[in-house]
């Protein structure tokens, strides 16, 4: 099963789990399974159109899925997936 690393800000929605295992073959299946198990994660991971929010980065190993096959990026048994919140802002 693939491993997902949950960032600190989202752990309150995963019963404080920092690391989860999923049975999935793509990133889309991974996100769907996460939301199925932890429905409160949905509004923090997906926008109103059901796409991954622009302020959420998903990495497979050290690679951003935006540089791979986006949500269709393949997931294998040994894959480590990181959900990385975008940390940004500014004065005005």
């Amino acid at each position: 099963m693939a491993t997902i690393l949950i960032p600190t800000p989202l752990r309150k929605f995963t019963n404080n789990s920092a690391k989860l295992q999923v049975q999935a073959t793509t990133i889309k299946e991974t996100v769907d399974e996460l939301i199925l198990n932890f429905p409160d994660l949905k509004k923090h991971l997906l926008d109103d159109q059901g796409n991954i929010r622009s302020f959420v980065n998903i990495f497979v190993g050290n690679d951003d899925i935006r540089d791979l096959q986006q949500e269709n990026t393949a997931v294998k048994e040994e894959t480590v997936i990181s959900i990385i919140p975008a940390i940004a802002g500014g004065t005005f």
Binding site: P7, K12, F59, N62, S82, I87, A88, G89, T91, F92
Partner: protein, 138 residues
């Protein structure tokens, strides 16, 4: 909701904000939670990765974010929030701050006026994605 700075964390945060002026600084805060109060015992300054106008924007790279999570774990600390500065601007979050904000984290903003520390406030996102101020107790 309250937040308290211990050790040299407050001084280090202000020093980073003043040193980075007129650009925005940014970094992580870590420590322990004690009920509704957060105790900050360490800060981790990171490079403002924003390409372009760093005087009014900041960005933490995904790699720096991953390193910060690992740094907190290695030091047996809880990652509790983010700090950044507002050069020549009040310590109040902008709409840009709010839209990008993550749940749970405290967002500390240091106002730096003409290169010198002026004010500091801390904010947390509520369930309606709006910022609420949390008290700084020191």
């Amino acid at each position: 909701m309250a937040i308290q700075f211990q050790a040299n964390s407050f001084q280090e945060l202000v020093a980073d904000a003043e040193k980075t002026f007129p650009d925005e600084c940014c970094g992580f805060m870590a420590g322990k939670e004690d009920g509704e109060e957060r105790i900050i015992t360490a800060i981790l300054p990171v490079i403002n990765s924003k390409e372009g106008d760093k005087k009014r924007r900041y960005l933490v790279s995904p790699m720096d974010y991953m390193k910060a999570e690992q740094w907190a774990e290695d030091n047996n600390l809880q990652l509790l929030g983010i700090y950044h500065s507002h050069p020549n601007h009040p310590s109040v979050p902008s709409e840009h701050d709010r839209v990008a904000a993550q749940p749970y984290f405290s967002y500390v903003i240091a106002s730096i006026m003409d290169g010198a520390f002026a004010n500091i406030q801390s904010w947390r996102l509520n369930d309606d994605f709006q910022f609420e101020e949390e008290t700084i107790t020191n």
